[in-house]
């Protein structure tokens, strides 16, 4: 992890500290919090204040890392290991979802663009630590790995998201790890799949007249750059420009800083972010009203799972990067 990456993360997360410091600061309350809400219990669900859709739908890098650590411990007992998670997730799990990011549009400000380019806009957790691990196995060993990891895939637990059925195996190392961190496999499915239904409102938000007007102003503001980079929506700029980066961790080039600056100024002048946010918030408020009981349950489960996850990560304080990352 480069010093540059640390700087940009700290900027976005208002001076966030590395994991070991976070753990030291938060472990005082870990045990009490974890014990107060038993796995699958209802200790916090009634009292959890509902802040908003964004908190309900937020993922958790801490939770995912704790599941990965538990999963990996189980796999190692059977002679396997996990090809992920990435080094970034291991070192900075709380950063994977740290940026407030309304789905469908990144909040790029002129200040951020002029200093960091698109460094923060690029998702940091894209690659596996060892992508060839599973593929290098024989077919027979791959099958054994699948059985150890996923168990009997016909023996499942399921959840209904509206009418959608999502099933996962209730056996295997992964199921055990998820249940230990989130409480049960049913609860894991709730926190993972129920929030996804909010994505139905992205198209509606983009189709609203105020957003289309702002989009027209934004594209006009870009001038010739729009055609040169085939930009149809603001985040196209991020994808086009960042695709030419040799590494996400590298410093932005002068060209990137210039383009990001233009992009951010046009976003600001066109009012595209505010227009889109208003349209999406309106749709999301309806989603929250329709899903209130489930959303409150998801939030309570997520909070309890994060407390457990921090305790688990604390127990793995001597994470062996050399052997696993």
């Amino acid at each position: 992890m480069s010093a540059f990456f640390l700087k940009i993360y700290s900027y976005r997360t208002a001076g966030l500290v590395p994991l070991f410091v976070l753990m030291a600061l938060s472990c005082g309350g870990c045990d009490a919090g974890a014990n107060a809400t038993p796995p699958g219990g209802h200790g916090e669900s009634g009292a959890a204040p509902l802040v908003g859709w964004d908190e309900v739908t937020a993922g958790s890098g801490v939770r995912e890392l704790a599941i990965a650590l538990k999963d990996e411990k189980c796999l190692r007992k059977h002679g396997f290991r996990l090809q992920g998670p990435s080094k970034e997730l291991r070192e900075f799990p709380f950063l994977s979802h740290a940026s407030p990011h309304i789905p469908g549009l990144y909040d790029l400000t002129p200040n951020e663009a002029s200093t960091w380019g698109y460094s923060l806009a690029i998702p940091p957790l894209a690659s596996e630590a060892d992508p060839e691990y599973g593929r290098a196995m024989s077919k027979r060993r791959q099958a054994l790995f699948g059985t150890i990891q996923f168990g009997d895939t016909q023996r499942t637990v399921k959840i209904l998201v509206g009418k959608l059925v999502v099933k996962v195996s209730k056996e295997g190392c992964l199921a055990e790890a998820r249940a230990q961190i989130v409480g049960s496999m049913a609860d894991y499915l709730k926190v993972t799949y129920l929030p996804q239904s909010i994505r139905a409102y992205i198209t509606a938000a983009w189709s609203s007249p105020p957003v289309r007007d702002s989009l027209s102003r934004y594209l006009a503001c870009l001038g010739a750059t729009r055609k040169q980079l085939h930009v149809h929506y603001p985040d196209d700029m991020i994808r086009r420009v960042s695709a030419s980066r040799p590494q996400r961790e590298s410093h932005p080039t002068a060209t990137e800083l210039q383009l990001a600056g233009l992009d951010a100024r046009c976003r600001e002048r066109s009012g595209i972010y505010d227009a889109y946010t208003d349209a999406f918030q309106e749709a999301a408020a309806q989603w929250l009203a329709d899903s209130r009981v489930l959303a409150e349950r998801v939030l309570a489960l997520s909070r309890a799972a994060d407390v457990r996850a921090r305790r688990v990560i604390g127990n793995y304080s001597s994470i062996d990067h050399a052997s696993t990352g």
Binding site: R135, Q142, S207, R239
Partner: protein
């Protein structure tokens, strides 16, 4: 092919540090998906009709249907990565409509609404704890 697809492909879009993999479509009827390290998607509900995708692309990749985008109706993910199903359309930017975590089996996308069923154009593959590039 929708208007925005033409534009996006012409623009040479690529996620950062990714490889782009075009996945062949199988003509075999109701092919199974009982292999570890594979993501599978079928044309019809109940894992039936043509298997459109049978892939083990690594995290950081984009997995694109060779043909028959906008047709997938059921899927199983027996990889250890998260598969982010992305919709390309004319009136919104590319966006993830559903993500399949490791071990997920979804027998019928049609009941989830038209924005998911027969609407996925490609997948961005990220680690299980990663964030879908076109989503939150």
């Amino acid at each position: 092919m929708k208007f925005s697809k033409v534009c996006t492909l012409a623009g040479g879009v690529a996620i950062a540090a990714s490889t782009l993999l075009i996945v062949p479509t199988e003509s075999a009827q109701a092919a199974t998906c009982n292999e570890a390290n594979k993501f599978c998607g079928w044309k019809d509900a109940g894992y039936s009709n043509t298997r459109l995708i049978f892939d083990s692309s690594p995290a950081g990749s984009r997995s694109i249907f060779a043909s028959q985008q906008d047709q997938m109706s059921s899927a199983k993910n027996f990889t250890n990565n998260k598969w982010c199903g992305v919709d390309q359309e004319a009136f919104a930017p590319d966006h993830t409509v559903i993500s399949f975590g490791p071990g997920a089996q979804v027998p019928d996308l049609s009941v989830y609404g038209g924005y998911v069923n027969d609407n996925i154009d490609y997948f961005d593959v990220v680690t299980s704890g990663g964030t879908c590039p076109h989503s939150f």
